[in-house]
């Protein structure tokens, strides 16, 4: 259990879960600025925007953390995945880039009193493109389409573009769209709260439908993965995820938002954990085991040894960040004009 390869793989799964919980909600915020509805459309967008502001960069550092962990602890797996999945990863990268830039431009542009419609559109499109393509890339590791013969990783559309990976992308989107409004319900007051409640319930249904559809699809297109998921202990996570998901819907209906937030998080954690548990002991299903992908023992040990020190600095800082910006989102940048040397804002 406590061998370095397993520990490093667990770190990878934890990082993936944290990225999904934080980065996913962040993307979801972008998705719901695109899908804002009803008479309070504008207020929904504002609230989402202000909530994302202070934390988006931190949320996305988890992705860098995943990439770094992958090439440090599983270098040959990293190389194979980045060869096989180049097209969806390039698309994700374009999305990440435009999303970050558009957010910064819109944010700081808006603060100086201008609306920046182009930035807003780019932000919304990129918020859909990125989780979709990342979802495709992650699910492709389970699809059984990545092949490595004599050290040569196969490339081509067939590797990453299958009904299974497309549904993986959809599930990625649904997770993001689900988390953001659930998190928002505890941060805003009615009537905006009710809007986010409706959005969360709708996205919860979408996520439920998408994951349900994934079962026949994986039986057909990713038999090895579905066998491991459905015929062994990882099935436990699937069952628990279903319970947590249904529970969240009920809690939202009853307006128990604080508990609903935790329950929604648990739903997503269980879904991702189930996926990872079914993938183990492989990094690329049927093709490359974690053991085969792993770095030499000394590198794994060095990597694992620095983690506690990193965590010692990181965890208190993260807690302080989220604690400072808890509650009602506000835009605390000074209004435009106050940067001109006038002491009025003090």
């Amino acid at each position: 259990m406590a061998d370095p390869v397993t520990l490093a793989a667990l770190v990878l799964v934890v990082a993936l879960i944290l990225y999904t919980l934080f980065g996913g909600a962040d993307f979801g915020g972008g998705i719901w600025t695109a899908l804002a509805f009803g008479p309070r459309r504008r207020e929904q967008r504002e609230a989402l925007f202000n909530a994302i502001g202070p934390v988006w960069e931190t949320n996305h550092v988890w992705l860098i953390f995943i990439v770094v962990t992958l090439f440090t602890a599983f270098p040959s797996g990293f190389a194979a995945l980045f060869i096989a999945l180049m097209p969806p990863l390039v698309l994700a990268l374009i999305g990440i880039n435009f999303r970050g830039a558009a957010f910064a431009f819109r944010h700081y542009g808006r603060e100086t009193g201008r609306e920046v419609p182009l930035s807003a559109t780019v932000f919304e499109i990129a918020s859909v493109l990125t989780p979709f393509t990342l979802g495709m890339a992650v699910s492709a590791t389970a699809a059984g389409t990545i092949t490595i013969n004599y050290g040569i990783t196969a490339t081509g559309t067939a590797v990453w573009l299958t009904p299974f990976t497309i549904m993986g992308g959809v599930i990625g989107l649904a997770i993001c769209a689900y988390l953001a409004p659930v998190y928002m319900t505890v941060r805003v007051a009615p009537p905006l709260q009710d809007d986010f409640r409706d959005a969360a319930i709708a996205a919860g249904v979408a996520l439920g439908v998408a994951t349900a559809l994934m079962i026949p699809l994986s039986l057909r297109y990713a038999p090895r993965f579905s066998q491991r998921l459905l015929e062994s202990w990882p099935m436990l996570f699937v069952v628990l995820a279903v319970f947590a998901g249904v529970g969240t819907q009920l809690l939202l209906l009853w307006r128990r938002f604080k508990v609903a937030q935790l329950c929604a998080g648990a739903t997503v954690v269980l879904t991702v954990t189930g996926f990872a548990a079914a993938l183990a002991p492989d990094l690329i299903v049927g093709e490359m085991s974690l053991e085969a992908a792993a770095a030499p023992l000394s590198s794994l040990v060095a990597y694992l040894a620095i983690l506690p020190f990193g965590a010692l600095i990181l965890i208190p800082s993260l807690v302080f960040l989220y604690w400072t910006f808890r509650g009602e989102p506000s835009s605390t940048l000074p209004p435009a004009g106050s940067e001109n040397g006038s002491p009025e804002k003090m």
Binding site: V61, I64, F71, A79, I83, T112, T155, S299, A302
Partner: protein, 437 residues
């Protein structure tokens, strides 16, 4: 353009782009910390207001730095999978530690930028301390990976694959310390000059009186402290390169033939065909003195290495001269600015001084970029010096030209966006002064 060239062009463009924002991400936190510290110490609130005025550009520039850094971490795998499969176990540690530092940096920058209404003044200042430390430390960590590529350590080659990996030895490779210190200081100088240039131009145009002078004093004080250290660490780096990266030194100095009492060549265009340098200025024996502290020492030239294993001096020597030249431009500007203030007790910078500073402003970034070109082009054709060629590291995927073109477009779009945002803001500053001032 073949795949290898497209991959190199894309990696080069991405790094050249990222370096600008990473540099500001290291330099600006120091300035924020100093300004906030001065505000608390002198009870002069204008220092605090000055720092708060930097948060908009800091926010945008840091965001671009973060996304361009994400691009780079992906490109390592997308473009150079074999390099990462080879090097991951050795340089992964440096990247992991950098990851934590960067994480810390992102957190405290967010707290500083958005925390005005939620944190006390002292807490805001305290946030700038981990921000400054984390940004410097992240540079020091990530440069270890580059140092390792230049002077690989911490493994043995057995049957064509690295074995007996010692990650700590890889981290503390020979080139790491001098590159890290020199590179981090360069970021301070480059940011200080960029900030000083911004305010010098504003003052020349008759804007932002009180602010401008404070910002100039602060940024040029940072530059004044860092610049002499640049010279010292530059000499240290050159010594180390002379000892451990002989081919790079030969390319830097356009030194073709191994010889005793080697001259230093300044400027000129090296011609690898004939092994000569046209139009260069030769200073007798200086290269031997600089490289080995002995006027008659033998300095290895490019001819000391097998054909096809050395860098092209046409891509290294001019950038080396540009880096050193840029330093002297900035040094002159610093003297121009500080000499009258020190000798004649003048407190107001004159127009001539402001023009000097404005002219010298871009040379910090120019020096940093060209120094990086020297280190990268100077290692070719190797990606891991002596072990893995760049051509062996590239991805087997086709269509890199398309990817290159796409990202070139991304970078252009970002640059246009940033320029519009920053320049329009400047516009508003002048307008704002009328309404609020």
């Amino acid at each position: 353009m073949d795949n290898l060239l497209a991959a190199r062009a894309l990696m080069g463009a991405s790094l050249a782009f990222h370096i600008v924002y990473a540099t500001i991400g290291i330099g600006l936190p120091l300035m924020l910390m100093l300004a906030e510290g001065l505000a608390l110490k002198t009870v002069d609130d204008t220092w605090h207001l000055l720092a708060r005025r930097w948060i908009r550009p800091a926010g945008v520039l840091f965001a671009i730095g973060a996304v361009s850094g994400t691009i780079l971490s992906f490109e390592l795998g997308l473009l150079w999978p074999q390099f990462m499969a080879f090097s991951g176990p050795m340089i992964g540690l440096a990247f992991s530690m950098e990851g934590f530092a960067f994480f810390t940096e992102a957190i405290f920058l967010a707290l500083y930028i958005y925390g005005e209404e939620r944190l006390s003044r002292r807490a805001l200042f305290l946030c700038t301390i981990p921000l400054t430390l984390a940004s410097a430390v992240s540079a020091v960590f990530v440069i270890s990976a580059n140092g390792w590529m230049n002077t690989p350590a911490g493994f043995q080659m057995i049957d064509g694959a690295p074995a007996n990996v010692q990650p700590m030895r890889a981290f503390f490779n020979q080139a790491w310390l001098h590159q890290a210190v020199h590179g981090t200081l360069a970021a301070y100088v480059a940011t200080a000059f960029a900030v000083a240039g911004f305010y010098a131009v504003a003052l020349l145009k008759g804007r932002g009186e009180a602010d401008g002078k404070k910002a100039l004093s602060l940024s040029l004080a940072v530059a004044l402290v860092a610049a002499p250290l640049m010279l010292v660490t530059g000499d240290w780096a050159a010594d180390a390169v002379a000892e451990h990266q002989t081919a790079k030194l030969a390319a830097m100095e356009a030194h073709f033939k191994t010889s005793a009492a080697a001259p230093l060549i300044i400027g000129g265009w090296p011609d690898p065909e004939t092994g000569t340098v046209s139009y260069g200025i030769k200073i007798p024996k200086l290269l031997s003195i600089l490289a080995h502290h002995d006027p008659d020492a033998v300095v290895q030239g490019l001819d000391a290495f097998p054909q096809g294993t050395t860098p092209d001096p046409r891509l290294v020597h001019p950038f080396f001269d540009l880096m050193v030249g840029s330093f002297f431009v900035m040094a002159l500007a610093l003297i121009c600015y500080w000499w009258p203030r020190w000798r004649k007790k003048e407190t107001e910078p004159g127009r001539a001084q402001l023009k000097c500073i404005a002219f010298a402003a871009p040379f910090g970034i120019i020096a940093l970029e060209s120094g990086w070109m020297v280190t990268e082009f100077g290692r070719q054709p190797w990606v891991v010096m002596g072990y893995l060629r760049t051509s062996q590291a590239v991805t087997p995927n086709d269509g890199l030209l398309l990817v290159f073109a796409t990202f070139l477009f991304v970078y252009l779009a970002l640059t246009v966006g940033i320029m519009r945002l920053l320049l329009e803001r400047k516009h508003e500053d002048t307008g704002g002064e009328v309404t609020h001032g």
